[in-house]
Assembly symmetry: C2
Homo-oligomer: 367 residues x 2
């Protein structure tokens, strides 16, 4: 065949695959959702005794009552599809200044990844990071400062991301309220994203971050899971696996910095787990203080991928623009092509984590 005929055949094949994908997606989306079971629970948590559980002055002559509270627990909300055991469950963990809302209905009202993965037959577990949202946090220090027991310097550093910071850091465009021409984030609904952005209280947590061990424990409890993290939590799946790899059958790390100082034993542990790293577009295209943030993060992750693979691992860098998918932001699970990206990730899970489908969940991916 001539080169041009080959090109035409390839184009036709690509269009057919795209059409099949689209048809499959429409089929998945068009029906009522059938849920085998749903609910919520906690992983982890330790008991702490404190006498600064509130800052209200006590009645005259009485000291505040000390008491026990539970801290460091992680709230998990789940839905399982009918025949959910055919696939490895997927655990999704949000990033800085956000909650599990990240994965739900997008700011412009489209289906989020949580429901789409479920409709694609996966059990989905959304975890609010320990110290965030429904997981609660340890507020005793705040009351201790208010009542004069501790100095103000002991207050936790609470991080909030402004609209202005989010716009450029999340790569919606070069300047606040100015979008890249090919921007995939639904910028007209940015105000709805800003409502998702909540104070980050990780500064109240002990070291190491209890979310890491909680994610590892969740994977064990599920008898095997794919752990997915984003941004602040992007490398949490690796951190979880480094603490206890037993349940971690696959790792999906989206848009973050990667550790490049891992030791031989650590690399050997991660080399046993399929790892997918995902980055969007415009990494170096925002001027100002975030100019090098994403290129530096990308480079660290490319180095990480190379090191894991050198140690015999199955690690892959999915850089979307390199695949011809342009304009994706940092919040790519909310971008206009979010379901297309979900299809890519699910296909990766099928190929790398579930290739040996005959094996029971507990032994899969330990190949």
């Amino acid at each position: 065949m001539s080169t041009s005929r080959v090109k035409i055949w390839i184009l036709a094949l690509a269009l057919a695959l795209e059409a099949a994908d689209g048809a499959a997606r429409r089929d998945v989306l068009g029906k009522p959702l059938v849920v085998a079971s749903e609910g919520s629970f906690f992983v982890g948590g330790e008991v702490k005794t404190s006498s600064t559980l509130n800052a209200t002055p006590s009645p005259a002559g009485t000291a505040p009552l000390p008491g026990d509270i539970t801290i460091n627990q992680m709230y998990v909300q789940f839905q399982k599809p009918v025949d959910g055991d055919r696939h490895v469950p997927v655990v999704m963990v949000h990033g800085c200044c956000l909650s599990s809302k990240t994965w739900e209905t997008t700011p412009d009202g489209r289906m989020g990844w949580n429901e789409y993965f479920l409709r694609r037959g996966r059990s989905v577990y959304l975890a609010d990071q320990s110290s965030r949202a429904r997981s609660g946090f340890d507020a005793t220090t705040i009351n201790a400062v208010k009542t004069g027991v501790l100095p103000p310097s002991q207050l936790p550093s609470v991080l909030m991301a402004s609209h202005q910071t989010s716009w450029t850091l999340f790569r919606f465009g070069p300047e606040f309220n100015q979008a890249f021409p090919d921007e995939q984030f639904p910028v007209e609904a940015a105000d709805e994203l800003y409502k998702q952005m909540i104070p980050d209280l990780n500064g109240t947590l002990p070291t190491p971050n209890p979310t890491w061990k909680n994610m590892a424990a969740l994977a064990v409890r599920l008898r095997g899971a794919v752990l997915m993290g984003h941004s602040e939590s992007g490398f949490y799946p690796e951190q979880a696996a480094l603490r206890d790899p037993t349940g971690v059958k696959g790792i999906i790390s989206i848009e973050m910095g990667c550790a490049t100082d891992l030791k031989g034993q650590q690399l050997a542990t991660l080399a046993k787990i399929p790892i997918l790293i995902v980055f969007g577009d415009h990494l170096g295209d925002v001027p100002g203080r975030f100019q090098t943030t994403w290129t530096t993060n990308f480079d660290s992750c490319q180095k990480f991928v190379d090191e894991v693979n050198k140690a015999g691992g199955d690690s892959e860098m999915m850089w979307l623009p390199k695949m011809g998918i342009k304009g994706n932001s940092h919040m790519l699970m909310q971008d206009k092509n979010n379901l297309e990206l979900a299809d890519l990730i699910i296909a990766w899970i099928d190929r790398h984590v579930e290739a040996n489908k005959a094996a029971p969940l507990s032994t899969r991916a330990s190949k």
Copy 2:
């Protein structure tokens, strides 16, 4: 018929109804859940400009960047059943030191009210109070104190409920870790309840509490809803209706204090809305500082019910022990008989809010 024969007939009828109820419940529980649609969104929210969005020292020579954040929004998570329009949606709002987890899987792993109401054909909306959980809160004051811009006295009072306080205040038993003989709360799983208990940041909110207007706005957005509150939020449905009754088609207030100083116009507004107040058992049975808490709350609500009805309203006090249902705690939506209680509440909605089923949602209950 003789009195004894009448008694036997009544007993037989009661048993038959109970059996039918049980059968209906088993039928509702035994099948996969079919969801017409689900998702999440925010109600309300205002933009605030602040220069204390974080407390990290700035690089030398640069001042912290001021920026905009969104505060006072309310996160809402929903599921709609197939043919959900046949019933008025139900909005559930949690109490102090808790999140929407209140209504989900119980501490001992049974089905929560959110799923049960859905299985009984109701669209269910779970709202995290403004300033709690996934709704986020305004943390700028904490950073302003940490950086010396404000004195410690300006810190919000953050309320945490200890295990010990919860046990007696929630009426699990007379003393910590000692249960009432007929206690309905699954006390063996109390540790799982303690994981749900998170810092209450209502002290960061402006006055009046924005959750009230957000609940009213949600009811309007749903073109009519039953608003349900519990404990701290027990009287929030009434507060919402007093701000804008347009969407409030019914009110369910569980275990709280009621306002007894309402004026004529306020009573007239509430008299147009069917109101159900629910209290459990052992109201005066915990010794110590909570000895009179619940009896005082109950009395205020009985007075409120009487005043609303005197103004021509349809208000009802459902005091469970008076109906022969014993041992219910403050956390009655998590008690062992929680689905039986849900049936009672759904039956009340059917009778009082949906009696005129032919009318469109927007006009129902304005009878």
